[in-house]
């Protein structure tokens, strides 16, 4: 499942589905709202484009690392400290491919998927700065 949504997901249910025939390892990445003296975090996405980008990243990870299953669920909207932001579930025959595939997916999301975070504090809000290196309007 590739999705951008406000709702949380049942990670246990995703793992059950990821155990395809031939699976020897499932790796779960769960990105969480950290308690950096914030009250909440607000997430925003260019949804149509972000979904396409996530699908592209999942496809590329599957090809490069021979993954058997990929889920990427990125949440948007207002999230409290401790809530899930991003869940990546991958399965593979062996752990090196599962770890490498999961790592590839999170790093690619950080590089170029149009999603933004704003940290909300008692004193207002602050947009989390992205990596300027991928700006410059250049097609990836």
């Amino acid at each position: 499942m590739i999705a951008i949504q406000t709702d949380d997901v049942d990670i246990g249910a995703l793992i059950a589905v990821a155990k395809k025939q031939g699976t020897g390892a499932v790796v779960v990445f769960d990105g969480i709202v950290r308690d950096d003296e914030i009250t909440e975090m607000e997430l925003e996405a260019y949804e149509a484009v972000a979904t396409q980008e996530l699908e592209k990243i999942a496809g590329e990870a599957t090809r490069q690392f021979g993954l058997l299953h990929v889920d990427i669920i990125h949440r948007i909207g207002r999230l409290s400290v401790g809530e899930n932001i991003l869940i990546i579930v991958v399965s593979a025959g062996h752990r090196p491919e599962a770890y490498a595939g999961s790592r590839y997916i999170i790093e690619e999301i950080k590089k170029g998927v149009p999603i933004w975070k704003k940290e909300l504090t008692k004193h207002g809000g602050r947009w989390v700065p992205g990596e300027h290196g991928h700006g410059n309007g250049k097609p990836r």
Partner: protein, 106 residues
């Protein structure tokens, strides 16, 4: 298509496009802005004219020489446009234009 053509009072063709700003740019300039533009309008001039409605919004996107900051990301119908090409990219009727700061998902 001739049945899609709209003409203003001077007889020149007009088009409607949608402009989407995100994150900090959205807060300053709004989003999902539907606007009519004249045929032949370039990407950069369209964004310049919309951004000028809020000096703070303009200053977030353009430097003091009126050029896009290098970190600004431009898209047309979901595809990236190089900043270097933006002032020779012609806007077409129905285009969805997006302008946003560096992404920070994950």
């Amino acid at each position: 298509m001739w049945w899609h053509r709209k003409e203003d009072k001077s007889g020149e063709e007009e088009m409607t496009v949608k402009i989407r700003f995100f994150a900090r740019f959205r807060e300053l300039l709004g989003t999902d802005i539907m606007t009519d533009v004249a045929a032949g309008t370039m990407f950069t001039s369209l964004i310049t004219s919309i951004a000028k409605k809020n000096p703070e919004g303009y200053a977030a996107i353009f430097d003091k020489n009126g050029a896009f900051y290098e970190f600004v990301i431009l898209m047309r119908n979901g595809k990236r446009i190089d900043i270097a090409d933006a002032d020779r990219t012609v806007i077409v009727d129905g285009d969805e234009i997006a302008v946003f700061p560096p992404v920070a998902g994950g």
